[in-house]
Symmetry: C2
Subunit: 440 residues, 2 copies
């Protein structure tokens, strides 16, 4: 069989374009309505997508004037979606900086049991001071410390998921012995960030471990991914950058002693789909026209660590920006934005337009055929194992993708026509991990 | 209208009796199967019950040999049940000692949005060292400290739920203004246990605040309930004890400046229902015969802080037990157990039987008529505003209750025959709380 493409539907309010909510067809409160997400999940499942995904930050940052704000917490929302779907994988973002491993490992294990092995965790370290200030801190911990804590958090979580052997539960009614205590292995973890003594209070998840996704692209982020991730989300603007990222990450995985095929790399793409290229471009322009740049300008200034007064809508970025190693928040996103602006000599207004469409992810306007070609081109040229599909408008953009792009990819033999696998790991062609027993 | 009774279905694996899983009809793995809970929720909703409830402790304690162990995390499980039901309230236990307010307030707000105003939180402080050791501690914090933290946790949660005014979201497409920033009120909380600066990242829940339940009966627990709780779960063995508890709590609520009617008191009852009293007693005996006392003996020794070797199955409890004020775990449950054993002069084996049936809650075997009378007797005599129904065997015991006891209570005019209210607060006859704005 030809190498198979993996597709993940990244769901976000009524679309990834920041002005999507202003379109006549959009319900500006849809992101608080379970039925909206049920509809999206079913569209994605009709398209036989591997998974759907929800982002998250434990803070309300930015003005709520700008776009639909506040959202349902991903682990609970995905649990509701588990009951409305049968096959599709369910990936929730959760922060290692602002959670406790025992609680989070438990929730993901529970979601995995409830969904029959369809749970995934997008492990993030959460950039920015706003979240930190909701958790007893004055500012975010240093980038390096956040990633060190993330690695230990994953280690503890794996010990907890493995703390029940797969056959620890017996259900032996005759002898009155429900489970075999000798098959329980307390985590016994004593580390720099966490001390967790006990076993998890839920049996080993159907997948062994939920699928682990990593989404930070800095050097620290890549190293974390190389050690632990089953899949990687990334924002890449050009084929060359995406190829370099792909090669680097596969190399790092190999250096960690892993088979590079077991780490799947999914760049994002924001596809504006039209029945002609002109129609697709017109949709993009209509959306860009609806952006109110004053909101975005303030966020851009924060990201770039400059005074908003130093950014002028019709000029390029100032010359004297900080270097990536001075950035303690999201390093790789910072560099991507600066390089994009410099490479294409964008004015602040144009940059805001590009970021408004995909927050740094690749935007692409075209016909279904052109979108399928764009996807296949990166897939065939060492830049991607699949894509994170970020429809600019939801549900319309996901529906167009599923109805017009997916069939093309299926006809080319690149994508499944039916679900033939059961768990999320299986959809991504990954094995069920063996238990690593504490103390063994 | 006559004063109305409130009924809550306390769900627990395949029943509250610790040996229920050994009955021929029980599936010993049902507690990991969403469909089991969906079935229970629908039975409870058919009975027009106010709510259903899940207990929780973030630790695996005790032998897994004894009974079905490990469980699905309550906030995610109840979210799944929200999608399978329309009316019934959904109450999840969560610990204030081992969570962060920002995360927990967010999840309960999300559950409230997803369920259309049916979320409730059983606020517990979590007794025992096992949980503490899963959260970076060597032992549980002192009882007093746990309750102080619980009070501050609730204060922060209320600030977070109230951080969005009810009409902060505008959805003004024409002007491109999604929400009104002047209606966002960051928590700005700086306390002994928590510093939480920001606003919640989800709009105010449909109920304003989820229903707050409190379940600790020590003096500290009662004080917390008097200040904050909408409902109180309690274990009471005798009418006189229940009356004293009821009067005390209503008095404390009054002293806190509250209308005592706005705090609903629900003792637990474990009803073994038979078509004759003999049949009910036979069910109870069959279940007690299936208990393996060696497991329970070890737990009893831990609770009483004695050496297991000092407990003899066929003798009464030793004389020299600690006083309640030396107990740092669950104070009121300790006292209840000791008093029950002394009052009825129970041997350890008999005590284990009584606790195996309801862990200290009142057990009652009888016909539907007798169960309805037992409920009404306490309800009419200043001991209860309703009951926590703890079926010894599930689903059978809940089904019997709904089909045979509920109709009697309805015929007596004590219980609703249809849902006429929408939210969980409304089911309990409680108003939607006004927002207390931070800094106001
Ligand atoms: C598709 C995608 C989704 C992401 N979702 C989140 C998210 O939900 N929450 C979050 O804190 N970071 C998320 N990130 C990661 C941040 O964008 C940022 O890269 C990260 O916080 C730190 O990255 P760094 O390693 O480059 O510093 C996501 C990244 C990608 C590519
Ligand atoms: C019906 C009921 C349910 C309870 N559920 C829990 C629970 O799920 N988790 C928990 O830690 N405590 C729970 N408790 C409280 C404990 O039993 C115990 O009373 C509490 O931890 C401390 O109580 P104290 O105030 O008496 O020390 C529950 C109590 C009752 C009456």
């Amino acid at each position: 069989m030809t190498r198979q493409l993996h597709l993940n539907a990244f769901l976000m309010t009524v679309g990834h374009h920041e002005a999507a909510w202003r379109l006549p067809e959009s319900d500006p409160f849809a992101h608080l309505d379970l039925q909206h997400y049920v509809r999206l999940a079913r569209i994605a499942e009709r398209g036989r997508l591997d998974s759907l995904f929800l982002a998250d930050t434990p803070a309300l940052w930015n003005s709520i004037g700008r776009r639909p704000s506040g959202g349902l917490e991903p682990t609970v929302l995905l649990t509701a979606l588990a009951t409305a779907t049968e096959h599709i994988g369910l990936i929730a973002t959760a922060s290692t900086s602002y959670n406790e491993p025992y609680n989070l490992a438990r929730r993901f294990a529970s979601l995995d049991h409830i969904s029959g092995g369809r749970a995934g965790w997008n492990v993030v370290t959460t950039a920015g001071p706003d979240a930190a200030r909701n958790f007893n801190l004055d500012d975010q911990p240093a980038h390096r410390d956040r990633y060190e804590r993330a690695a230990e958090f994953i280690e503890v979580s794996r010990k907890l998921w493995d703390s029940w052997e797969d056959d620890a539960a017996l259900g032996d009614k005759a002898n009155g012995v429900w489970g075999d205590d000798s098959k329980i292995h307390p985590a016994g973890h004593e580390g720099r960030y966490f001390r967790v003594a006990g076993a998890l209070n839920v049996p080993r998840p159907p997948q062994g471990h939920p699928l682990l996704v990593q989404a930070g692209s800095s050097a620290d982020g890549r190293e974390l991914a190389a050690r632990y991730a089953d899949a990687v989300f990334t924002a890449q603007q050009t084929l060359a950058d995406a190829q370099a990222f792909y090669a680097d990450l596969k190399r790092r995985a190999l250096a960690e002693g892993r088979d590079p095929d077991t780490i799947k790399i999914l760049p994002g793409i924001v596809p504006a789909i039209g029945s002609t290229e002109a129609e697709a471009l017109a949709l993009e322009e209509e959306l860009d026209r609806l952006i109110r740049p004053e909101y975005a300008l303030r966020q851009l200034a924060t990201t770039l660590r400059v005074d908003p007064a130093d950014l002028h809508l019709d000029r390029e970025l100032p010359d004297d920006l900080p270097a990536e190693d001075e950035i303690e928040a999201a390093k790789s996103r910072y560099t991507l934005i600066v390089e994009l602006a410099r490479r294409e000599r964008l004015t602040v207004r144009q940059l805001i337009g590009r970021l408004g469409g995909g927050r740094g992810h690749r935007t692409f306007a075209g016909t279904p055929e052109q979108v399928a070609d764009a996807i296949q081109h990166w897939f065939d040229n060492g830049a991607a194992d699949g894509f994170n599909i970020m429809a600019p408008v939801l549900p319309a953009g996901l529906e167009l993708f599923v109805e017009h792009v997916v069939p093309l990819l299926q006809r080319r033999g690149l994508f499944r026509t039916e679900y033939t696998t059961g768990t999320l790991r299986e959809h991504y062609g990954l094995p069920r991990p063996a238990a690593v027993l504490a103390g063994a």
